[in-house]
Assembly symmetry: C2
């Protein structure tokens, strides 16, 4: 049985640990906080955990589950403890900025992005079956070892994921559209509403806001740090989505301004027809 390492014991790392421990793997965890390590052992999320990367020494496969900014620094710190056969993967939501550098640092690296999460954070939020019936993208490079790719694919499938394989470039474009762009346009909705200078309107708007506003504003009212990281690490792709979005919005504004009702109806009919293609 493979021995598995997890660096970063938050929602994703903790949930991974729970499922993999339940599958019978020996799971070794690393966290910067001793308290988190102890909690992970106590909750049977890992077999053992430490603040010292040395604990990863005998592992066959390692998941880096830190925030994006810590992925490459974590790999730099752990590789001296690993045997050459150890496979490293990550769970970062941006791949272009990560996969090239990570592969240079460690030949046996395979980029992953499981599309799972909840509104909660931290090891306290870890839950089993978090990945069941979700999608996971892996983003191998031409030089990525076939064996490493297969092992990573197999383990995500064992967690219940449907695994898609694509390039870091295509992945980053797709998530910019369906995940990062929504955060920015949703945040801009909240920001625009509260910036309105008619106080009476803002006051009534806050009282009347119901399910439509609630849903459209949800991701824009989420974790600010996460939104900032998306923008920093997927900057070019988000920018190009935002600019296309803005151009298309200009068309909608123009249709309303010029009372081009058939044109507006065509757009709204198309979006009504197309949405089910995104929502399984």
């Amino acid at each position: 049985m493979m021995k598995i390492g997890i660096v970063g014991l938050g929602l994703i790392g903790g949930s991974l640990g729970l499922d993999l421990t339940n599958q019978g793997y020996d799971v070794m965890g690393v966290s910067r906080q001793l308290k988190t390590c102890n909690l992970a052992i106590e909750k049977k999320i890992v077999k053992d955990a430490s603040t010292d990367f040395k604990i990863l020494g005998q592992t066959d496969l390692i998941f880096i589950c830190t925030p994006i900014a810590q992925i490459l620094p974590s790999i730099e710190k752990i590789i001296k403890y690993l045997s050459r056969e150890t496979i490293i993967t990550d769970v970062g939501s941006v791949k272009g900025e990560i996969v090239d550098h990570a592969t240079q640092l460690w030949q046996n690296f395979v980029g992953s992005h499981p599309m799972a999460g909840t509104a909660n954070q931290g090891i306290e939020a870890a839950e089993s079956h978090l990945f069941d019936h979700t999608s996971c993208v892996i983003t191998p490079l031409p030089q990525t070892s076939r064996d490493a790719m297969d092992k990573v694919t197999t383990i995500w499938r064992s967690l219940g994921c449907k695994v898609y394989k694509t390039t870091p470039e295509i992945h980053d474009q797709a998530v910019a559209w369906i995940s990062h762009l929504p955060v920015m346009i949703s945040a801009n909705l909240i920001n625009s509403c509260v910036n309105n200078d008619n106080e009476e309107v803002v006051k009534l708007a806050k009282k009347l806001a119901s399910s439509g506003f609630r849903d459209t504003s949800r991701v824009g009212g989420g974790n600010a740090e996460l939104g900032l990281m998306m923008a920093q690490y997927n900057r070019e792709k988000i920018l190009s989505c935002l600019k296309e979005y803005q151009e298309n919005l200009t068309i909608i504004i123009d249709n309303i301004e010029q009372k081009k009702w058939p044109e507006l109806e065509t757009i709204l009919t198309k979006t009504q027809e197309e949405r089910p293609n995104f929502i399984l």
Copy 2:
């Protein structure tokens, strides 16, 4: 006990009928379709129903529950059957275009907008308690009779609504922000995603779209006819929201382009803090 008329037996009219009939009122329904009238009688939504407005002759209070475009034509058709004391109200989501004209047609008119609904349409979707724990805005004019206003307020409260009173102008601005603008920016998200010319990206995006995209796209993938009517009947207010939205989006784009990360973080932190003020 008052005798109540309902013109338009769809989701809203039908649900109103159910609750008012259950409260013991004699409810008379009008629909263009005989089939709908028969269904309304059969389901005990109304005491009696007809395709002929004459049935409203003895009513004390009438709810116009047609699509916005039919509100004024409906009032024109029914008033010859009414006694001068009969009060007319409506349920339209735009008030400026309606209330002035309706009041000219019928002195005893009070504009209402119950903020209730489901994803379904038609009399088949009618449900009891639809208005319980929702908001309802009434928009009297300076010349609106105090007695009519009080009666309309009382009946909405009896249905479980929290009633707010404001001008048609303030109402239309507030709903433009929290209801109509979200529809346009959400539709523009779907439209922008599918218009992307990289087929592989669109294909992967459709597979990966999860809860964030689902929520942000929901109202933009809704009834196209309704979205079009919002734009037509609340045109000026939507336009001004869209333009402010567009200006604010330019600031976000500029922050990302110029890597002004503290500025972007300030916006995202503010939206995270502000959202709970809209969501009770």
